[in-house]
Every structure is written in structure tokens, then in C-alpha cells.
Amino acid sequence: MESLVYIALFAPLLSSLFAGSFAMTPKKQFVGVVSSFLLFISFAASAILGYHLLVTNEPIHVKLMDWIAAGDLNISFGFIVDHVSVTMMFVVTLISTVVHVYSIGYMDHDKSFNRFFSYLSAFVFSMLILVMSDNFAGLFIGWEGVGVCSWLLIGFWYHKADVTRDINPSISPSWAANEAFIMNRIADLGMLVGLFIIYWNVGSLQYDVVFSAIPNMTQAVLTTAAMALFIGAMGKSAQFPLHTWLTDAMEGPTPVSALIHAATMVTAGVFLVIRANPIFALTPEVSYFIAALGTFVAFFAASMALVNRDLKRIIAFSTLSQLGYMFAAAGLGAYWIALFHLGAHAFFKALLFLGAGNVMHAMHDELDIFKMGGLKKAMRGTYLYMGLASLALAGIPPLAGFFSKDAIIETAFNEGSLILWATLVITAGMTAFYSFRQVFLTFHGDERYHEFGIHPHEMYKYVLVAMSPLAILAVIAGFFKDGFNDFIINLLPNYQMSEHTHHLALYLGLIVLAVAVSGILLAYIKYNKRLVRSEKTENGFIYKLLANQYYIPVLYEAVISKPYAELSKLMWKNVDMKIVDATVDAIAKFLYRSGDKSRGMQSGNLSNYLNWMAIGAIALLLVSILSLIAA
């Protein structure tokens, strides 16, 4: 079994190195094939490990080698395959495999085909380090590793120049990549502080040691540690106010959006909260804050999705919104429900993104849904997939999203936080609306793309086949909810609804369902036939506010980026050059000048010398008299 752990972990690394060795050569189809195969091996190993755990219920703990040891700090590369990590491994490797195969088709015409596979596999490797490590430092390796891969992949088309847009100051893949990296780094500082707190209070960073030492920690320490760790989670999972990078990350190739910015990396923050649940469970204030922030983000992101016209950005906002749901569940203590939604969401959201990729492919990289419409004729398979995924996302039974999202909403009710519950219910309606607004505008109604001279065509067959596992899982994953519950509570605390909630469960579910269905209906009425645009609405305050993402990107540019750049310039030109350096030069010049001036004394003229001697004698005399008086 130990070797399976290493196979699962290192097959993607091998794939990355293999593809990387062809990075500077022209496109080679077999690079994609070999990479996908290696990823499949990793998936198979993860699946076997999952089965093993299901049967034996015994986590596998392996230690590869020492990493950093100094003072009392001792960190090693250790990996644990337990119920939580194996769930993550299964989700990550499955979606990665699908995305790899998909990319063979999607990146077909890209001259950096080989390089793409190298980055993509490197990402999977980092993500596996993140979920499999048995200590916080290992988690941090993966944490930063996925950050770099995300940077590389968002900026994959680095040759594109910066384009000024009305919403964002200036955006290009390389700009978005840097934004994502730097914003994540801000949060990573919080995470590092969390690690430092844990180290100085426990003396170790290994999960089992840390969690068993929790009883010895004071509440204050626990609370600060939880806060610091959650700041880290906020960056990776793009929670407000560190959310703007996620939609800009859509500048990357679509398979990347599907894998990294929907299914896996962005859920790392949720994973962290689930992983460190013994800490968060004992810090109710922090946990409640997490739930409240999650709920807020769910609503906040969904509101921006309502009016957006960019196919990928709509899905990105919905990812943001669903991450909010996950945090709401985790913050309310329903860790396993959060993890379940994480998995279910990963399946249907990856499917949705890959479908969007097909549409982009068909539309020659056009993303504006106002320019699409009626695509279902040309793209039957994609239509089916995206329709299914949207139904799942909207929470329509019996698809996966219904079971997982409903459980979260029910949890909010069960905890008695009616505000959170109501917000989440309303958000569910908004989710259904914007999902189907996008489906109808893309696939139904008048074929607006003719105006732009586009001839859409369906994606390659094998790509559609490769997407099918996701489609199947998006449909059936919900049925495994009870089984998953039995499995996961071996590690995570179980979350039981109260008797009261249990009685009301049916009605609660019906309320959510009714709201969701009305969302879909509204979208149907408005957008099914044709796109009717109203000047009045689009110029309205609320519409503009939402379309401009509450002006937050503009605000960040004006309040943070610009002032920082200007202050930097000021520091250099005025402080460093004119004050610090000028002082040094002034001292040097003073010495030089005083020497230069006093050089005149040594004129070689005897009478001058005598004058100076007399002055000197008088000065000495004065000094001695003065000192006598002073004494």
C-alpha cells in the first residue's frame, strides 16, 4: 500500500518532468497522451487507496525523508492517506485525468502544447502534496506550489499584451497571473503566522501532534491560530476581500479554469478548515465568522453573476459563490457536509467549465453570451453536459448539487441562524437564475452569432467521451451522500440535524426547491426566446454596480496599486536619493571642502605661518583660561 501512495503522488511529477523535457520543442501529440496516462495511474492508485481505506478503515502514514531541521524544529516529508485526504485525492486525480485528456483536444492548435501539460501535471503534483501532507509545513509546500502553477497557467498565454478594460484597469494573462500570485501571498503571510503560533505552542507542525496538544493550548492562542490559518484560506479560496483575482484568472486557458479555478485549488482553503477542524471546532467565534463570511460571499458573488456577460466569468462567480456555501457549512461545524459539497461541486463545476471551453472553441474564443444563442443545434453533446451541470448547480433533484447544497442550507437552519439560512436560500434562487440565464442565452433562442460571422462546430468526439465521467458523477454523486457520511465520520466529527430540523426537512427542502425552480423559470421567461436588452435596466444604478463588480477592482487599483507604485517612486527618488544618500555625500563633501579650504593655510609663506601661530597661541591661551575659570 505504501508504494501506491508514492505512485499516486509521484506519477504527476513524472508526467510534468516528461512533458517539460519537450517544452521547447514543437507540439507532440504523444506528450499529452503519456501525461494523461500517468495521471490516470495516479487516479487508479488513489481509487485503490480509497477502497483500501473503505475496507480496512486504517489510514496509511508514510515518511519519505527529513526536510528542515534546525533548533527544535523538525519537519519531514510525511504523507497521510486518511479519509479526508483520500477523498481529496480521488476528486483531484479524477478531474485532473479528465482535464488532461480534454486538453489534448482543447490545446490542439497551441504551439506550447507540451509546456501546457508540464505545468498542468506540476499543478496536480502540488495539489496532491497539499492534500496528502501530514503536517502544516508540507501543506504549505503544496499551497505555494499550486500558487506558482496557477501563476504559470493563468499567464500561459503570456505573449498577449495588456488591454485596458472598463471594469479592470488593465488586464492580460500575465497581469492576472501576477494579481493572483500577489493576492495569495498576502493571505499566505497569515497562514505562515498560523504555523508560527502552532510551532511555538506545540513544538511541532505535524497534524496528529498538534491536534493532540490542543487541550494544552489557551483559548487565546487557539483563536489567533484559527484566525491566522483562515486568513490563509481566504486567499486560496478567494473569499472577500481577496476575491478579485479569481475572475481575472479566467484569462488562463479554460481547462485550467476547470481544474484549478473551479474544482481543486480554490477549494484548498475549505480543505484547510476541514483538515484543521479540531482547532476550528474549539473556536466558535472564528467559526461563526467563517460561516457568516461564507454566506456573504455566496450572495455577493451570485449577485455579480446575475448581470455578467462573460461566459467564463459567470461560472467563476458561481464558483466563488459555491465556495461561500462550503465555508458556511465548515464554519457551522458541518465539516463533512462541506467536504461533500466540495466533491460534488468539483464534478459539476469542472463539467460546466469544460463545456464552456467547448463553446469557446466553437465560437473562436468569443466569450460574450450576448453574441451567442441557439447553439444547441450545433452542439448537442455540449448542450446536454452544460444543461446537466447547470441543473446540478441549481440544486435540482436528483442531481448532485441538490443533495450537497440542500444539506448546507439545512445546516444553517439547524444552527438557528435564520439570517444565514434565508441568505443561502435566496442565493440558491439567484444561482438557478444566472445558471440558466447563461444556458438559455448560449444554447437557446435566436442565433446571434451569425452577425459575427462565426460557424460553430461541436468539439471532438473523444473529448466529449472524456467528459462523460464528470457528467455521470454530476448526476449520481448525490446518492452516495449517506455512504460518504458513514465513511468520513471515521475521521471528521459527525453532524446531526436536530429532531426539530429533521421533522421540517421535507418542507425546508421544498422551499429551496421552489426558490430554485422559480429562478429557472424567471430565466426561461426572460431569455429563452431571444435576448431583449433594455437600456433603462442596463443604465440603472444596481445593474452598473453589479456589472462593475461593485467597483472593487477599480477601488483596489486606486487605493492600493497606484499609491503603492507612487509611494515606491517617492521612496526612491526623494527619500533614498535626496535624503539618505545626499546626507552621506554631504558629509563627504563637508570633509573635502574643509580640507580644501584649510589647505590655503599651508601657503609656504613664512609670515602667514607666523600669523597662524599667533592665532593658535591665543586660542590655546583662551582655552586654558576658560578651563581654569570653569574649574
Partner: protein, 507 residues
């Protein structure tokens, strides 16, 4: 074997002397060969180094001026061992990658002399010898900047020389006072550092002596606000000068703090934690901002050096072995990474004769190998885990957290501001459309250049994944230094800080 340190110090200089009679055309080969032998010798030293023994090894000690206690005294411990290896390694790599055509022979000889002084500083255990090498190292660098530098070379080299020289003189006064104190206490003169370790001082004396040494070391590091000689020196120096300056010469300052200030003046050091930490944080944040504002690629790297040296300074004053070991490791890491970055800037300068980022843009598609290596070094520079840059930075921050969480958070912003200027540099130079048509014809790295860069990349990754062989040896010696401090500490505050550390070890 018993004379290996002497050989290590003087072999390059003797070979340099011999270099005068070598034919001009073979000067480069000669230089590389000598540097390679020296590097192998230093590896040999490592192989024979007893990693379990934290004290000085391979000691050579005999008097020169007996009446004044000045002796020929060399020795190596875990702290200096890797600084020596890094010095010989970077000299070798620098020599290999050198593209200077004019007066190449003079350059080779100068570099070999410089290597003697650098190795000498790290191996000397007698203060007079240390001072001798310390000051002597200024001369070859003065020559390198002054003879091969840019248009402002005379100003830059004189500024470099005078600035650091003034600081050193004040340090010399401190040294003489310590020697005199030793004489007063023991009745004999001694300049041996190990003798000085046994000497205790009153708080009053410690404070002034600490300051005297501080001025000498701080200008060398360079600490804010004594750093302004550095951008000029880097701006004017040829690539090889910048590589050696950033990789090795700056480390002499921080090494001085570890070797002299901490064990000799423990109470003053602990008293000075707060001011030094604040200066370090200013170094980290302020110079990172200044780096971000630069238009010249080389100046970005130059200012980033100051920023990274801020991390090193902070670690030294963490007063625990996590921080100090991390700091020594960060010295190595910064030596490798900043050296590599200066070499990379040199590569593009050789091709385009400009260092302005506005002249570049889109280089990644023209020079993919160059972009790849630059990218790896960039990631090491911003402290990505599994590269050499992470280990030191992480240990320094975790170590200093024990002293002050708030100051650590402020210093930790280095991971943000560092990413800002490095990523911005990378984006401006390598990403985007190719704005300068003339750049389309640029050649990617050639085989010669790759040979110099690949070892650097290998070390960056190797020591990022498996720093243990280096770190454990450093850590042993750092613990010894800390125990010297513990024994000597007299003020209750100092005792508290060091003992809090040791009581943890007993657990």
C-alpha cells in the same frame, strides 16, 4: 590535511601571482582551473569536516608577534564552512561565466586575490588577521569597479571604498579596546577570537563596543541607512563584480555579527534586538519598495539584495538556533540566488547593452531557456518552498516570532513585497508582446552559459528539497555560539531570553 586552511587561503593568491607570467590568451582557462582546484579543496574540507563537532576544526595556530598576542590563527566551524564553500563556488562560476574581453588577465588575477581575502575573512580566528583580510578585500573590488565599471565608475568605486573603510576603522578601534581589556584582565595580549569569547564586559562597555563593531559590519551588510553605496557599486560594476559583491562581500558583514557581536557582547546584542529589528524591517520593506520603482533591471536586483539581507539580520537577532541557523542558511541562499540573478542580468546586458526593462518585453518567447532559468531564480528569490530561498526565510521568521510576533508579521511582508517587485520585473521584461523589434534576433543561452547556470539551478533545487546536510552542521555550531552567550550573559533580560530558549530544549 593539517594545513588545508592555509592552502585554501593562500593558494588562489599564489596562483594569482603566478598568473602574471601566464600568456594572455590562456588567462581565462588558467583562472577557471585555479578556481576549480580551490573549489574542490573546499569540498574536500567539507568531506573531512567532523559534522558532530560544533567547535573550530583544522586549527592552525602559531604566534606572529608574541608580545602583542597577534597570531596566525585559522579554523573552521559549521558557520564558516559553507560560507567558504559558497565563496569558492561562486568565484568558480563567476570565472566561468565571465565575458570580459579587455584586460582579462588582470581581471583573473584580481579575482584570485579577492578570493584569498574572502576565504581569509571567513577562516581567520585572530582579530588582526580578520581585519587584515577584511580591509584587503576592498582593494580588488575597488579595482574591479574602477577599471571595468560603467561611466560613473570612479565615483562609485571611491564611494564604496571610503564608506566601508570608515566603518572598518571604527571597528578596529573596538578591536583594539577589546584586546586591551583582555590584557588588563589576563595580563597578556591576545587577539585570538576564542580568547575573547572568554572575556566578559560590563554592560556599559558592551554597549559601546557593540556599536563600534556594528558600524563596521552594518555598512558592509549594508543596513539601512548605510546602504546607498550599494546601488552605485552594483550599477557601475561589471557583472562579475556584482556577483562577487552580492554573493560574498555582503555576507562578511552578517558573518561578523555572528562571529563577533553575539558571542562577545551578548547583553548588548539582546538590548539592541529592537532597534536592529526595526532597521531590518525598514530594510525589508523600504528597499523592496525602492526596488519596485526601479527602471533598471540590475538596480532591482541590487535593492532586492538589501531587502534580503534584512531577513538575514533579523534572523541573527532572533537569539535562538532556528533564527540564527536560518539566517546563516539565508546567507548561502542569497549568495547563490542573487549571484545567479546578477549573472542573468549580465547575459541580457551582453546581448543588448542595456539593462532598462522598458527595452525588453516578451523575452520569454525569444529566449525560453533564459526565461526558464530566470523564472527558477525568481521563485527562489521570492522564497518558494522546495527552493533554497524558502528554508532560510522560513526559519528566520519562525525564529524571530519567539521574540516578537508583531515585528515578525511586519518582516513577513517580505513575502508579499518581494513578490511584487520580482513579478513586476518578470512581467515587464519577459511577458507581453515583443515591443522592441531589435530583440527578435536575440540568441538564447548558449552552451557556455548553460554550463554556468545549471549548477546554480541544481543547488537551488537540491538545497531546497534537502537542506539537511548543510543545515544540521550550521545548527550545531550555532547552538555552541548560543551556549557561549548563555554563559556570558549578565543582565537578567538577556538571561531570560536565552534561557527561555534552553528550558525548551530540556523538555
Amino acid at each position: 590535511m593539517s594545513n588545508i586552511l592555509t592552502i585554501l587561503v593562500f593558494f588562489p593568491a599564489l596562483a594569482g601571482l603566478l598568473g602574471f607570467v601566464i600568456d594572455k590568451n590562456s588567462a581565462r582557462v588558467y583562472g577557471v582551473a585555479i578556481a576549480a582546484v580551490e573549489f574542490i579543496l573546499s569540498l574536500f574540507l567539507w568531506m573531512n569536516f567532523d559534522s558532530l563537532n560544533p567547535t573550530f576544526q583544522f586549527i592552525e595556530h602559531f604566534p606572529i608577534v608574541k608580545d602583542f598576542g597577534i597570531s596566525y590563527y585559522l579554523g573552521v566551524d559549521g558557520i564558516s564552512l559553507f560560507l567558504v564553500i559558497m565563496t569558492t563556488f561562486m568565484t568558480l562560476i563567476g570565472m566561468m561565466s565571465m565575458t570580459i574581453k579587455e584586460d582579462l588577465k588582470n581581471m583573473v588575477i584580481t579575482l584570485l586575490f579577492l578570493e584569498m581575502t574572502m576565504v581569509g575573512v571567513f577562516l581567520a580566528l585572530d582579530a588582526i588577521m580578520f581585519y587584515f583580510f577584511w580591509e584587503l578585500s576592498l582593494v580588488p573590488m575597488l579595482y574591479i569597479i574602477g577599471a571595468w565599471g560603467g561611466p560613473l565608475r570612479v565615483y562609485a568605486s571611491i564611494k564604496f571604498f571610503l564608506y566601508t573603510f570608515v566603518g572598518s576603522l571604527i571597528m578596529l578601534v573596538g578591536m583594539l579596546f577589546v584586546a586591551y581589556s583582555f590584557y588588563s584582565a589576563a595580563g597578556v595580549w591576545s587577539f585570538a577570537i576564542t580568547d575573547w569569547y572568554a572575556l566578559g564586559f560590563d554592560m556599559k562597555y558592551q554597549f559601546w563596543l557593540f556599536l563600534a563593531f556594528f558600524v563596521g559590519f552594518a555598512i558592509k551588510v549594508p543596513m539601512f541607512p548605510f546602504h546607498t553605496w550599494l546601488p552605485y557599486a552594483h550599477g557601475q560594476a561589471p557583472t562579475i563584480g556584482s556577483v562577487i559583491l552580492a554573493a560574498v562581500l555582503l555576507k562578511m558583514g552578517t558573518y561578523g555579527f555572528v562571529r563577533f557581536s553575539l558571542p562577545m557582547f551578548p547583553d548588548a546584542s539582546i538590548m539592541m534586538i529592537a532597534p536592529i529589528a526595526i532597521l531590518s524591517i525598514i530594510m525589508i520593506v523600504y528597499t523592496a519598495m525602492v526596488a519596485y520603482a526601479q527602471e533598471d533591471m540590475k538596480q532591482v536586483i541590487a535593492y532586492s539584495s538589501v531587502s534580503h539581507m534584512g531577513i538575514v539580520m533579523l534572523g541573527i537577532f532572533a537569539m535562538n538556533s532556528e533564527g540564527i541557523s536560518g539566517s546563516v542558511f539565508q546567507m548561502l541562499s542569497h549568495g547563490i540566488v542573487s549571484g545567479a540573478l546578477f549573472m542573468l542580468v549580465g547575459v541580457i546586458y551582453d546581448r543588448t547593452h542595456t539593462k532598462y526593462m522598458s527595452e525588453f518585453g516578451g523575452l520569454a518567447s525569444i529566449m525560453p531557456k533564459y526565461a526558464l532559468i530566470f523564472g527558477i531564480m525568481l521563485m527562489a528569490s521570492v522564497g518558494l518552498p522546495l527552493t533554497i530561498g524558502f528554508v532560510g526565510e522560513f526559519l528566520v521568521l519562525i525564529g524571530f516570532y519567539k521574540i516578537s510576533p508583531i515585528l515578525t508579521v511586519l518582516a513577513g511582508t517580505s513575502i508579499i513585497v518581494g513578490a511584487v517587485y520580482m513579478l513586476s520585473l518578470f512581467k515587464r521584461s519577459f511577458f507581453g508582446a515583443i515591443t522592441n523589434e531589435a530583440n527578435r534576433k536575440l540568441k538564447d543561452l548558449n552552451a557556455n552559459e548553460l554550463v554556468s547556470f545549471i549548477p546554480l539551478v541544481a543547488i537551488v533545487i537540491w538545497l531546497g528539497i534537502y537542506p539537511k546536510p548543510v543545515l544540521s552542521i550550521i545548527d550545531n555550531s550555532v547552538k555552541t555560539t548560543l551556549s557561549i552567550m548563555e554563559q556570558k550573559a549578565i543582565t537578567p533580560e538577556a538571561k531570560e531570553i536565552i534561557i527561555a530558549k534552553n528550558s525548551k530544549e530540556e523538555k
